[in-house]
C-alpha cells in the first residue's frame, strides 16, 4: 500500500486544494465557509473530511469522521435549510453507524458496525484512488497540448480505403436527434400518465358495484399494486374518491361518513 496513489500528495487535483479551504477543523465550530455545492456528493465531502485527518485512509477513525460530518451537516443545515437530501441520508446513516460502533453488536444477522465501517473506508479509498488516477491521467502529455500529430497529413489511401469517417458518436447523435425531433414535432402526444386516472377508477368501481351489499371502507377499494404509498397511492385514493362521488351523484352508490375526517364507507343502494 505504500506506493498506492492515495498517499501521493500530487494526487490531489487543483480543485481539491481549494475546496478544502471551507472545511471544518474537527470541532472548531461554525467559523467555516459552508459550500455544499462545492462537493460532488456526501461521499466527496466525507473524503475531504477524511483527508483532513492527515492519515492513511485505512487508519482514519470512522467515529471521528462521522462526528465531523454530522457537525458539518448540522451547521450547514442551520445556514441552508434546503440542504440536499443526499447529505441528510448520509448523516442519518452515519449516526446509525456510530451507534453500531459504540454499542455491542446485536445478535441479528446484520453486518457488524466494524464491517460497515470497513465498507465505508473501502468506498472512500476507492474514490480517492480514482480521483488520484484522474489527476495522474491528466498530467500525462496529451495529444494536441503537449504532443502533436503530423500537421499536414498527406492523402495516402494505400492502407485502407476509408471513404467516410463517420464516428459512432455521429451515428448515435443522429439517432438521438431524430428521436428528439420525433417527440417534439407532429401531433402533440401526451405520454401516458403514471398516475391513477379518474376514468380507471370509475371503470373499476362500476365493475364491483353489484357486489357491495354491506358498508365497506373506501380505503379497501384501492386497486392492487397502488398501495405502496407515495404519490401513486395518493392519486389512486383521490381518483377513487372522485369516482365514488360521481357514482353517488347518479344514484348508483350510497356514501356514509360518521364525522369529519373519519373513514368513508360505501355500498350499493338498497332496494
Amino acid at each position: 500500500m505504500t506506493d498506492s496513489p492515495s498517499t501521493d500528495p500530487f494526487d490531489q487535483g487543483p480543485e481539491r486544494a481549494t475546496a478544502g479551504d471551507g472545511l471544518p477543523d474537527a470541532a472548531d465550530g461554525p467559523a467555516l465557509v459552508l459550500d455544499i455545492d462545492g462537493f460532488e456528493g456526501p461521499i466527496d465531502l466525507l473524503l475531504l473530511l477524511a483527508r483532513d485527518q492527515k492519515v492513511d485512509l485505512t487508519r482514519i477513525s470512522i467515529l471521528q469522521l462521522a462526528d465531523q460530518y454530522l457537525a458539518f451537516v448540522e451547521t450547514a443545515r442551520r445556514l441552508r435549510l434546503e440542504l440536499a437530501a443526499d447529505y441528510l441520508v448520509m448523516a442519518a446513516w452515519l449516526a446509525y453507524l456510530k451507534s453500531r460502533l459504540l454499542l455491542p453488536d446485536p445478535q441479528e444477522e446484520e453486518p457488524s458496525g466494524e464491517e460497515l465501517a470497513a465498507a465505508l473506508t473501502f468506498q472512500l479509498q476507492r474514490l480517492e484512488a480514482m480521483q488520484g488516477a484522474a489527476a495522474r491521467l491528466l498530467k500525462r502529455p496529451q495529444l494536441g497540448r503537449d504532443v502533436f500529430a503530423r500537421g499536414a497529413p498527406e492523402d495516402m489511401p494505400v492502407l485502407e480505403t476509408r471513404v467516410h469517417d463517420l464516428t459512432l458518436y455521429d451515428l448515435l447523435k443522429a439517432y438521438g436527434d431524430h428521436k428528439r425531433r420525433q417527440m417534439q414535432s407532429g401531433p402533440l402526444r401526451i405520454a401516458a400518465t403514471e398516475l391513477y386516472s379518474i376514468e380507471d377508477a370509475i371503470r373499476r368501481m362500476e365493475d364491483i358495484l353489484g357486489r357491495l351489499p354491506n358498508w365497506t371502507s373506501l380505503a379497501a377499494f384501492l386497486p392492487p399494486g397502488w398501495k405502496a404509498g407515495g404519490v401513486r397511492t395518493r392519486s389512486a385514493l383521490a381518483s377513487t374518491f372522485v369516482a365514488t362521488l360521481e357514482l353517488a351523484k347518479s344514484g348508483r352508490l350510497e356514501l356514509r361518513q360518521d364525522g369529519p375526517f373519519s373513514p368513508l364507507y360505501l355500498r350499493t343502494p338498497q332496494p
Binding site: G151, M156, P157, V163, H164, L166, Y175, H178, A191, V231
Partner: protein
C-alpha cells in the same frame, strides 16, 4: 511562449517538431522570429534537411517556406486509387441510424419513421460505404426488400454485436436525447422509473 532551448541539438529537435506539427509550410522568417536573432535558423534548416536527405521523408523548401514531404521516389509505392473522403449527408446518417436500430427495415418503414421520403440515392450511398446491404424480403404483400447492417458496419463503429448499440434509455442517460418532462420527477415516482429503466 517558452524560450528556445540553448543547446544546439535541442534547437534542432524543436525545429523538427515544429515543422512536423505544422499544417502549412512554415516561412523562414517566422522561424527566425520564433528562435530569436541569436540562432542561425538557416543553418539549422540546412542541417535538418541533410539529416533527412536519403530518408522516406524529406525537408523541402518552397518559396522560402519549409515543410516535410514524403520522398518523391516513393511515389510509385504510395500512389493508389485515391478516394476523396466524402461527407455523408444528414439524411444519410439518419437513415443509417434508423436501419441500425430498426433492422430489418423496409424503405417504406424508414420513410414512415423519418416522416420524409428517402431518396433512392441515400440507400445507394450507404450501400457503397459497405455499411448496409439488402436483407430478406418481408413476407407481406409486395414482398418488400428489407435493409440490414453489415459486419463491416460493426467493424467500422467498433461494436462487437448489434446488441451493443445503446438503447434509447442509454442515449437519454448519456445526454444524447432530451428527456421528456415526465411525472417521474414527482417524489415517490422517481424510484419506480429508475427501477424500470435499469430493469
Amino acid at each position: 511562449m517558452s524560450a528556445v532551448p540553448e543547446d544546439h541539438n535541442q534547437q534542432l529537435r524543436l525545429l523538427e517538431a515544429i515543422l512536423f506539427a505544422s499544417a502549412d509550410p512554415v516561412g523562414e522568417e517566422i522561424l527566425q522570429e520564433r528562435f530569436g536573432a541569436a540562432v542561425k535558423v538557416r543553418d539549422l534548416l540546412l542541417e535538418l534537411q541533410l539529416l533527412y536527405e536519403n530518408r522516406g521523408v524529406n525537408l523541402v523548401a518552397m518559396g522560402g517556406r519549409w515543410a516535410f514531404r514524403t520522398a518523391p521516389d516513393l511515389g510509385e509505392y504510395l500512389r493508389s486509387e485515391t478516394e476523396v473522403a466524402a461527407k455523408l449527408s444528414r439524411a444519410a446518417v439518419e437513415t443509417l441510424a434508423i436501419i441500425a436500430y430498426h433492422q430489418p427495415v423496409t424503405r417504406a418503414e424508414i420513410e414512415s419513421i423519418r416522416g420524409v421520403a428517402t431518396s433512392k440515392g441515400t440507400l445507394d450511398i450507404l450501400m457503397e460505404t459497405g455499411w448496409i446491404k439488402p436483407g430478406r424480403r418481408r413476407e407481406t404483400p409486395g414482398r418488400p426488400l428489407t435493409w440490414v447492417t453489415t459486419p463491416h458496419f460493426l467493424d467500422h463503429f467498433g461494436l462487437e454485436t448489434l446488441r451493443d448499440l445503446p438503447g434509447v434509455e442509454d442515449l437519454r442517460a448519456a445526454g444524447l436525447l432530451d428527456s421528456r418532462p415526465a411525472v417521474s420527477n414527482l417524489p415517490g415516482l422517481a424510484e419506480k422509473a429508475t427501477a424500470e429503466a435499469d430493469g
